[in-house]
């Protein structure tokens, strides 16, 4: 038995904001295809090739590089290999080191780069809130600069 679901979403590529209808196989937890949605104001039922075929990376075909599926840290310092650790260990390690740097050099010794791609506006809001309210610096920026 297959359970296909159609979901309207917004293309993750350029800034046009095209609306896409994706068909999802909920049993296999996979996107099956992307088709144009008549509900996109800027694309009016058309898509470019990235919109039509640009969802395949969700299947992690490992052509170029691969999905990161587990937190990693360089346990033994710079120049040593990254090792997979639990979320708890990774968060504790990163938080402790960030706090130590802030204590020694002040909050402006920390820089944050947010993402203008997949994460979206809510994550962007939390990114700058984290840098400002938690780290205590306005050193936060993103790739609109470049």
């Amino acid at each position: 038995m297959c359970a296909y679901k159609k979901i309207d979403t917004v293309c993750p590529y350029c800034g046009t904001g095209c609306v896409i209808t994706c068909t999802v196989d909920t049993e296999k937890n996979q996107v099956i295809e992307a088709k144009v949605s008549p509900r996109g104001v800027n694309n009016e039922g058309r898509l470019c090739l990235k919109g039509l075929y640009g969802w395949d990376y969700l299947n992690d075909p490992q052509i170029l590089t691969k999905r990161i599926r587990q937190p990693m840290i360089r346990k033994n310092g710079k120049g040593t290999p990254l090792v997979e650790v639990s979320w708890q260990e990774a968060i504790e390690y990163a938080a402790a080191r960030l706090k130590a740097i802030i204590k020694e050099y002040g909050p402006d010794a920390v820089m944050g780069a947010g993402s203008a791609r997949g994460p979206g506006n809510e994550a962007a809001y939390i990114t700058q809130k984290f840098m400002r309210a938690v780290v205590g610096t306005n050193n936060v920026d993103h790739c609109a600069r470049i």
Binding site: I7, T9, V10, C11, P12, Y13, G15, G17, C18, V19, C22, V31, N42, E44, R46, L49, G54, Y57, P61, Q62, I63, L64, T65, R67, I68, R69, Q70, A94, A95, R97, Y105, A109, V110, G114, S115, A116, R117, G118, P119, G120, N121, E122, A123, A124, Y125, I126, Q128, M131, R132, V134, G136, T137, N138, N139, D141, H142, C143, A144, R145, I146
Partner: protein, 567 residues
């Protein structure tokens, strides 16, 4: 953008400068084509003959790095031939008289700028007359304006042309900087900027800062932060260790591939005490990371993106996330909590509503309204269902300035920071291609897109340059600049002028950012990706070079965790 994308179809004139819509935004390009079918005249200014240039009424193959000279020449024609809208200027602007005096100088006559801009003076005059002939002239620009060391001033110079011809404040007119990535507009909207809180609110403004301090329960810094293009300076050249950057938290960004002057970026990332990378794929920056957090990708979480024309739209979770991955905001909340600032949200709508409560421009843009209205374009200030957002800005030519007027500013031309020389006789500009996106960790991992183009990318060169260097189309070549060198393939095309070359930035082996310059615009702090000097060298042993490229590609992929089967 001051207008909405579909309005382009009702333009009478489209002024397209430094913007390659068919490659960067194919569905925006469709509106340009449809406008032409309805009789719109197109002026296209680009050093490369783009597809828009091919269908343009007037195509101006400008010499790279001379935008300001050309824009001042356009203004010169409008002023000296009295093509301006005096009524609009009087009612809605300030500073015109001083500006007009400057641009009317003889040095800005089209005939006087012809040699430097490589443009026919008659074409400039025709373009200025055509621009000024309509109240539905719509301007589009892209990074061919902004990625220069004189970027911001050229943006203002473009806006001056619209102001003096009355092309602001009504339907199908105005200016359109078309944002590159899906959510650069949104990331600016959300205040991921060193000088602004969400909603374009100044961090230096005491009243605004107190509002955020109250909402977040902390005291906040009152000085502007660091733009990310200053990180190398603040790591490698800051003499006081106390003032250096010691930690870099990088979310969904790959500076080791996308930033200018990669040799310097690698030295920078190696020298930072703590590099945290939060991303979906292993990338080049991960090689310098001390901590890596796996995040969910588009398709695995809910969100709102802002399109280039200010439209908030809901983005939906399609599938359950890869095991082990968390959403970016959940990871940041865990970090905040571990650092002693408990932060928790149940879903993205809670975050969105907190943001709206602090941002008057976005206050009325609820999730509900986005669903009901095919998205909501900001400003949307009221909760009432009647406020469905704003299709175009500056209605009635009321501008978002203190006096409500449009201001003219004059700027003389500043040449690009690194010009051609005997050692580096060619210019290099970075550009885009339609099938690949950014650093290509997404599109390069889509089976159908990955096949469109592969390593080591290409460098577009004029046939005369190819002939002089004894290089044939498809040959591997070595490209060298003051910063570094790379290997790529020659793509011979008469769409580019003699002396100018172009490369796209997503290739690992043929990485153009090994070459690019980190010279910055002093106002936007944006690098001059559109101009530096280089030379192209012929490689005699092509077979060996092909083997080297393959070996290098395999080596990088294996560092990214991919097992490459020998073919």
């Amino acid at each position: 953008m001051s207008f909405s994308v579909p309005e382009l179809e009702d333009a009478e004139v489209i002024f397209d400068i430094g913007y390659n819509a068919p490659v960067s935004h194919p569905l925006v390009a469709r509106h340009i084509v449809r406008a032409k079918k309805k009789g719109c005249k197109i002026i296209c200014v680009d050093p490369r003959l783009t597809e828009t240039g091919r269908i343009a009424t007037i195509y101006l193959p400008i010499k790279g790095g001379t935008n300001m000279l050309f824009l001042n020449a356009m203004a010169h024609v409008m002023v000296t031939e009295d093509l301006v809208d005096h009524d609009f200027i009087e009612k809605h602007t300030t500073g015109f008289a001083d500006y007009a005096k400057e641009v009317a100088q003889d040095k800005y006559a089209p005939e006087a700028v012809a040699a430097a801009t490589h443009l026919d003076p008659d074409d400039i005059r025709r373009a200025a007359r055509l621009f000024a002939s309509s109240k539905h002239t719509m301007t589009l620009w892209g990074m061919g304006i902004t990625q220069f060391s004189q970027g911001v001033e050229c943006v203002i110079a473009c806006s001056n042309l619209s102001l003096m011809t009355g092309n602001y404040g009504h339907y199908a007119t105005g200016v359109g900087p078309v944002r590159g990535q899906n959510n650069v507009q949104g990331t600016c909207d959300m205040g991921v900027l060193p000088n602004q809180y969400p909603g374009y609110q100044d961090v230096m403004d005491d009243e605004i800062r107190h509002k955020f301090e109250k909402a977040w329960g902390v005291s906040l810094p009152s000085h502007v932060g660091l733009p990310l293009t200053y990180v190398p300076d603040k790591v490698l050249r800051e003499p006081d260790p106390k003032k250096r950057i010691h930690a870099y938290y990088i979310i969904g960004e790959d500076p080791a591939q996308s930033d200018p002057d990669l040799p310097e970026i690698r030295r920078t990332l190696s020298a930072i005490d703590l590099v945290i990378v939060q991303d979906i794929f292993f990338n080049k920056t991960c090689e310098y990371a001390d901590v890596i957090f796996p995040a969910t990708a588009w398709g695995e979480h809910n969100a709102v993106y802002t399109s280039c024309d200010r439209r908030f739209q809901r983005v939906r979770k399609l599938i359950e996330p890869q095991p082990g991955c968390k959403t970016d905001w959940e990871i940041l909340c865990l970090m905040a909590t571990a650092m002693g600032y408990p932060m928790h949200y149940d879903n993205t709508e809670q975050i969105w509503d907190e943001m709206r409560s602090l941002c008057p421009k976005f206050a009325g843009a609820s999730y509900e309204k986005m669903v009901e209205n095919h998205g909501v374009q900001w400003p949307c200030t009221e909760d009432s269902p009647d406020d469905t957002g704003t299709q175009y800005l500056h209605k009635g030519a009321h501008f978002a300035t203190a006096d409500g007027k449009g201001h003219f500013y004059y700027y003389p031309w500043t040449p690009a920071k690194e010009l051609e020389s005997p050692e580096y006789p060619l210019s290099l500009s970075t550009v885009r291609e339609v099938g690949h996106y950014s650093v290509r960790t997404m599109t390069g991992n889509c089976r159908l897109l990955a096949d469109l183009a592969d390593e080591p990318g290409y460098i577009q060169m004029n046939p005369e340059d190819c002939q002089e260097l004894g290089i044939a189309n498809g040959d591997l070549v070595r490209v060298v600049s003051k910063r570094g060198h790379t290997i790529t393939r020659c793509q011979e095309t008469d769409r580019v002028s003699k002396g100018a070359t172009y490369m796209t930035y997503q290739w690992w082996v043929g990485a153009c950012n090994e070459l690019t310059s980190a010279a910055l615009d002093p106002k936007s702090h944006t690098p001059e990706f559109k101009y530096c000097a280089c030379r192209v060298e012929k490689i005699d042993d092509q077979k060996q070079a092909e083997r080297d490229v393959k070996a290098q590609y395999t080596a990088i992929r294996s560092r990214m965790g991919i097992e490459v089967k020998e073919v």
